[in-house]
Symmetry: C2
Subunit: 214 residues, 2 copies
């Protein structure tokens, strides 16, 4: 349990480095990779790659680079990608169902995909009791605290309408969730010990639109 407070932007790049290393394949490829090569794949400066990694240890060999397999395992360990993380989804609408299936499939197909969806929640009584992909049950929102505890859920994805999102976030926090990925188009406020990540499609489109005609 490292108590390291790396900047968010560094964590994001580490996740990218890990993905790139995993894409390199176990066999057949080069055994070592330099910060220059990794930087090119990631679209960042080689000094930045070295600095990011150096925050967590000395993983490289001078004159040679980083051993791919070793660095990959180190990053998996740093990012908690070396264990299964149980997640849940709140809001089993169309987007929520699509995201759920996407996740379930990656978990089933990729041996290193660490996120396992173990529960969904929805207010709609017609949906409660049904299952997504025949495996993940949909529970009522009131079950959030029990299920988080009993199923060992650590992170949640919110795909409810904007108006409901803050209330859902509050319930998740009260239930003991540790991190939230929010798809709802609202700014959420959560206690500072809860990690919050934003996946706001219309905000991102609006950002892109700024650059049109420029």
């Amino acid at each position: 349990m490292r108590k390291l407070k790396a900047p968010e932007v560094v964590v994001r790049r580490l996740a990218l480095y890990l993905r790139l290393l995993q894409g390199l394949g176990d066999e057949g490829g080069e055994r070592f990779i330099s910060s220059k090569e990794l930087g090119e794949k990631a679209g960042v400066n080689s000094a930045q790659v070295r600095k990011d990694l150096a925050l967590f240890g000395e993983f490289g060999k001078q004159g040679v680079g980083y051993e791919v397999g070793y660095l990959r395992e180190e990053l998996r360990s740093i990012l908690n990608a070396n264990r299964t993380v149980n997640i849940c989804l709140v809001g089993a609408g169309e987007l929520g169902t699509a995201v759920s299936r996407y996740n379930l499939r990656r978990f089933a197909r990729e041996k290193n995909y660490p996120f396992r969806l173990v529960a969904c929640f929805d207010t709609d009584p017609a949906k409660v009791g049904k299952k997504i992909d025949k495996v993940v049950e949909i529970y009522p929102l009131g079950d959030i605290p029990v299920r988080i505890r009993d199923l060992g859920i650590e992170m949640a994805i919110i795909t409810v309408p904007a108006e409901a999102a803050q209330d859902v976030a509050d319930k998740l926090v009260a239930g003991g969730i540790k991190a939230i990925l929010n798809f709802a188009p609202v700014k959420l406020f959560v206690p500072s010990h809860i990690r919050l990540q934003v996946a706001d499609v219309s905000l991102e489109l609006q950002q892109l639109a700024y650059y049109l005609d420029r």
Copy 2:
């Protein structure tokens, strides 16, 4: 056509301010809002709000604040939210279909939602020719250049598998797209005049996972 190169992070906050102002409602609310109030809603420092806005003009009145309706219209103009922007989607799989429907519905329901989905593209011959929500036709990838031109498409959303994403991006760029929102779990490389925004669910989950046990 302002030729202003505002930092990306400022543009993101402007989009957030605009959404907050739109949420305030035309009638009934206060006529003016201070940088302090807007900052609290947005979760940012009041000085930052003033600085962000001051980059584009003098929108406020000393001692009073910003007139809500006026500031909203200015922001809509700055962000190109005051006109309809035609968009397309490549990859009419489950996630793509969900995102498409989400968009179509917001466009239909919210009078100020500026993004209109006018075309989808997919390689699957079984999908080509069908329509999403009975209104948006699915075309083969080869049609990208023609449709971009004929339908006046400015931005694209990519929801194809990782392996296909770079090729799709290249086709979109060749067809004259101006901006791309990428959901595929790969780092894309595009020319510098093309704006690229990332919506990478598994990368965001991986980022969140870092903070577990910390």
